[in-house]
Subunit: 353 residues, 2 copies
């Protein structure tokens, strides 16, 4: 596979983003949704901000307060044995089975704009900011599906009651309509197909199970993009491979002559995140035609291997021009990069069933 990583990579780093909150620093500008609007490439950045804290004995956990519209800080004692601080991203309560009790940063969505797809100017204010009790820990990992003149933007919403997926829509990236939570917890990595198929909308989604089952990719259908059902398990983990630990949809599905191409992320149990591909039947996207044996893209460049959480490439969107797939992707939970791949090479690399 020929991969052309832009010379300008990383295209956007935390240093390029002014913090929105006083007393905070930007620690991530990553996992951006992608849209083409008005002749420009828009990256809908996930911006993660962390309270500046000079006290090595405490951890400050930011939480959006829906009553005041402001961020409260919860101060935790690093020596408090009730908590596990070993993962820099989260604070875990040892008495609970939950993956986390607090996050160490709060994320929201901010737009970066470019005319050449390589040099970006970042809006000074958030575009989508926490606005209700389901978003207390922030909003993360947006994807954008354009249908007609409407851009549907959906993202993980994180709060003490769970992680779900909510959606807004816009025609101009200024005025936004909120549509509420479209997939209930535990769920993330939703990808809405860009057109109806056999009279139905379709979406990939990634439930996370506690009782039984693994973090794998499911597919659902809808009449109106707001209400979803007929859920089916689509693809699973593969023991011993690059996608043995967890998988989830990545890029908005791309219509090709051979089928719907989905560029998805897969991680090992050691949390090394790669991008791979599946091909779904054009008429019935619940049918898998082919799948990557090896990753399409894996962490290799220094900015992919090192950062807030290293060894991660994680794409939420791409732009297709002829045979060229310009895949924008978050690196190391820190910055944004872009690589160009050949659609034909991706399709030829798949193992057909």
């Amino acid at each position: 596979m020929n991969i052309y990583r832009y010379e300008q990579n990383p295209l956007i780093t935390p240093a390029d983003v002014q913090p929105y909150h006083e007393g905070f620093k930007v620690i991530g500008a990553f996992n951006a949704g992608v849209a083409e609007y008005n002749g420009e490439t828009l990256l809908l950045l996930r911006v993660a901000e962390q309270p500046i804290n000079d006290d090595p004995d405490t951890v400050l956990a930011p939480m959006y307060n829906s009553a005041t519209g402001r961020i409260d800080l919860v101060e935790l004692d690093r020596n408090d044995e009730r908590y596990d601080f070993s993962d820099p991203r989260v604070v875990r309560d040892r008495s609970q089975s939950a993956t986390f009790a607090y996050l160490t940063s709060i994320s929201y969505i901010r737009i970066a704009r470019s005319t050449d797809g390589r040099h970006f100017t970042i809006d000074s204010k958030p575009f989508i900011y926490p606005s209700n009790e389901q978003e207390v820990f922030g909003v993360e990992d947006p994807r954008v599906t354009k249908i007609g003149y409407d851009y549907y933007i959906y993202f993980s919403v994180v709060s003490p009651v769970g992680i779900g997926e909510s959606m807004v829509s816009t025609k101009d990236f200024i005025n936004v309509t909120h549509h509420g939570m479209i997939f209930s917890p535990d769920n993330k990595d939703v990808l809405i197909f860009p057109e109806k198929i056999g009279g139905k909308y379709y979406a990939l989604h990634r439930p996370t199970m506690k009782s039984v089952g693994m973090p794998e990719i499911w597919i659902a259908e809808s009449d109106n993009l707001l209400y979803w059902g007929n859920h089916k398990h689509l693809i699973g983990l593969r023991e011993g491979m690059w996608d043995s630990g967890r998988i989830g949809g990545g890029v908005v599905p791309i219509r090709t002559e051979r089928g719907w191409l989905e560029l998805y992320h897969g991680a090992t149990k050691e949390h090394r995140y790669c991008m791979g591909a599946i091909l779904l039947d054009l008429e019935n996207p619940a049918k898998v035609i082919a799948r990557s044996a090896s990753p399409v893209l894996e962490p290799d460049a220094p900015y992919e291997k090192e950062g807030f959480f290293g060894d991660v490439v994680f794409s939420c969107g791409a732009i297709v021009e002829g045979d060229t797939v310009k895949m924008y992707y978050g690196v190391a939970d820190t910055s944004m990069a872009c690589a160009e791949l050949s659609m034909k090479e991706i399709l030829d690399s798949l193992v057909y069933e």
Copy 2:
């Protein structure tokens, strides 16, 4: 609270049910959905059957094989330290965080019919039986909502890929239309309201989270009963109370003058299951008006305290006649019972917000 438990309790026990599978025994006839049809009371029993096994050193786990339509048995060695056999209901894989890897019985739905609500005749064959890969470990805990002439029956579907909620509909309890999975994993305890409210259908549901959040009650809306969205967290656990461990919807919501009455189950962290109540706004069921401080019904009778999994009362349906609520409920994950309560007493017992 005056509670009139029927003298005939338990109304149906496993001994009353002929096993459907050769070489199996019935270990549970419980957690039945309730319908009134053709002048009769129908209990849609969850029947749990377990392979008869005289070998104390092995555990047999039944699994529906969607290719053959038959039940396969997985033989597990009780001395195999990879597994935890301490819960009689499940086999846990110690290497996984999942609650279970296998079940020790397989459940399906069978109809019991009565003209007086106390004496039941049980159909000789299953009514709803596993039929696809999402139902490999069985179908459980049905509820029935009648809308017009249609009975919508929805139930947990359990398989290695997760526990979700699927739905069928019928007009005659003979011919059944399958509608697929309406809530994706991890989810159960769905309760569909019996009429549209402000132009929308509503349902309660109970996601189970791994990342963050507790097993609590959520509410969703729909246009067509098949696709669901606008998910909102409705009520949570209460530390130190009878519903501190897990909660989930129980009885199909009942329209009263004061609001929608939902009889729900709550368990302590020690797995003692009681029934309690919430009252929801008639026009906006996402608004909670009142809630039980104490249980409406708690395990007390011997058949409620002892059985396959004791100290459980778990209702999936009731019949309302004037002020009388005839609440049918599963006891000790084993049998069925019924108790009559006064609607007025229940409503008066609630703590209004």
